[in-house]
Symmetry: C2
């Protein structure tokens, strides 16, 4: 135990090729190398080729610190978030990191408090100091007007994911929660269910209301109206969903199918059914929303609507980097994943 290498002071890292080395090998000035690296126009074809060859030869990569110190860019994108759901954030971060890697960017992830009054100042300060090339915001901080104001005033590019207010204000990425929820209603109606129940999402989360509206409207189209006591509030948490489900299942005229505002609450509904001796889907159909990992880690696996979370994060990165389609709003598709938690009524 005593001869374990200690992490200490002096540590001469291996020398890495610099822009000078490349310039020397290619027989040009450092500035020309820089031009090639940054795809600036006006470099003669053969110069370009020579520089490219030297870069490849030396396995040269520009030092990001020097780059962002000297230039205006950092090749760094900031992701600020307040931890609503682990799975959601894991997907967001995963999708963003992957795309960043592809594009030669890096992601700086900064947890924060959604109700911190200092948030605007803090974000601008980090952005300025790191010279962030852009910011990505996720719900719920995506809708704080003071944050949006500060970022706009500081001139930091911003892409919001799933904003609920003021959509025209910034570029953003979103999906059509309402249309997705309609799909859930059609699916249940097609299976012959007529007594539908719903457990709502967190009222502060914009998507919750959209999902409610889509589900109710689509049900109405099929001639089904939900009785008021079959629609219970929730907050996207398992515990609250479990309580709501128990309440629904105790009703004398209980629903034969329940649409939960997200997968956690759908899982809670399945669990509550199990607890009360009801078989899913024979006695009760359950449909969730998100297609989070939990959907496939319970039995029966959940029928749910796949929300393209990773793709949304990737699209947000694309919008920030701006080397693709300049359309500042991107709407992504969803998909109904039919698994085994739904079935014909009485089935």
């Amino acid at each position: 135990m005593t001869d374990i290498q200690q992490n200490g002071a002096a540590r001469p890292l291996p020398r890495v090729a610099t822009i000078f080395d490349v310039a020397r090998v290619a027989g040009v000035s450092t500035k020309t190398v820089s031009r090639v690296l940054n795809n600036e126009a006006r470099v003669a074809d053969d110069t370009l080729a020579r520089v490219r060859a030297a870069v490849a030869d030396l396995d040269y990569r520009p030092n990001p610190n020097a780059r962002s110190l000297a230039g205006r860019r950092s090749y760094l994108i900031g992701l600020f978030y307040d931890n609503p759901s682990r799975n959601y954030m894991a997907d967001i971060m995963g999708g963003a990191i992957r795309r960043c890697q592809e594009k030669g960017y890096h992601l700086l992830t900064e947890p924060c408090e959604a109700d911190d009054p200092n948030l605007p100042r803090m974000m601008v300060s980090v952005a300025a100091r790191f010279r962030l090339d852009g910011l990505i915001l996720t719900p719920p901080i995506v809708d704080r007007p003071d944050v949006l104001d500060a970022i706009a005033q500081a001139n930091v590019p911003l892409v919001r994911i799933a904003p609920r207010t003021d959509p025209a204000r910034t570029p953003h990425v979103h999906m059509d929660d309402e249309a997705a929820a309609r799909l859930a209603a059609y699916h249940l109606a097609d299976l012959g269910h007529t007594r539908l129940g719903m457990i709502l999402g967190h009222p502060d989360h914009g998507a919750a209301e959209l999902r409610r509206r889509g589900f109710m409207n689509a049900a109405a189209e099929r001639g089904l109206t939900l009785s008021p006591d079959h629609v219970l509030p929730g907050d996207f948490s398992f515990a609250r969903g479990f309580a709501a489900a128990e309440q629904l299942l105790a009703l004398p005229n209980r629903p034969t199918a329940i649409f939960a505002g997200n997968d956690d609450m759908a899982a809670a509904t399945v669990a509550a059914a199990n607890k009360h001796g009801l078989q899913v889907p024979r006695d009760l159909s359950v449909i969730g929303f998100d297609d989070s990992p939990i959907a496939q880690v319970i039995w029966p696996p959940l029928t749910t609507i796949r929300q393209p979370t990773m793709a949304m994060a990737a699209a947000a990165v694309d919008l920030l980097i701006g080397d693709t389609d300049p359309e500042p709003v991107r709407q992504l598709g969803f998909e109904l994943m039919v698994r085994q938690s739904t079935g014909p009524v009485g089935g």
Copy 2:
């Protein structure tokens, strides 16, 4: 939709205070400010106070890029991982990021491929270029000898989380999986169970074998031996766990309690029991390992062993930064979380 602010070229970020501003305000040289910022010795008390005041006054924070370009450090720690489990990585990242924030560091997270032959070169290259202050490795790449060699040769401080091979080789953080698994066996024995079953973890993961050994030995201490057909291989996945559980439950002399190598497989066991009309814990006790989020998002909630994942990541950061206890190995505690998936034999 046309007047949405586009992310474009020129964007004058707000001016932030530099070390020169602080020096001017405090009436000292920039070098002295630097000394104060880096806690170097030999600064007179009143100078120190003046500089500190100026820093606070201007809300000055050193520019990280300039800092790591000029100095030897980056205040950046690299976390390389190959995505084994979402929940596990979310905990690792969360724990590491939080501690980094506290210490004024940042975390660079880099997904990679565990079997990429280029991994060593790639890691050293990133470390050198970013002047990373250290590297954190998680299973399974934590055990690749070529990676360890390359990092050692490049002189990059390294802390491993839960290494299985060569523990004396580097500082590391771990927990005593064997002792933890013993706890599971004692718990079941105390409840009166005599027919115990186990679903093993992935054979490539060092912890799997430790958990098996601990469980079996502790059971033996209590006079219980597991019949060979009550110990089934698994791989930490829900699907594989589900199949194994179904196989165990179909046995004529099925176990009354099952210890699964992790929570996903424990959840699968509960699910399989539900599917076959068995009530947990009345007809079957199930105990998991990890205390991952899924433990509380099924019903009944899982009795499981809490693995201090976030704390391990935080400890890894501490070891790298090295401003605390210099002991290069840190073993963290675990805890038996008794919930509702275990109960006395026969209900």
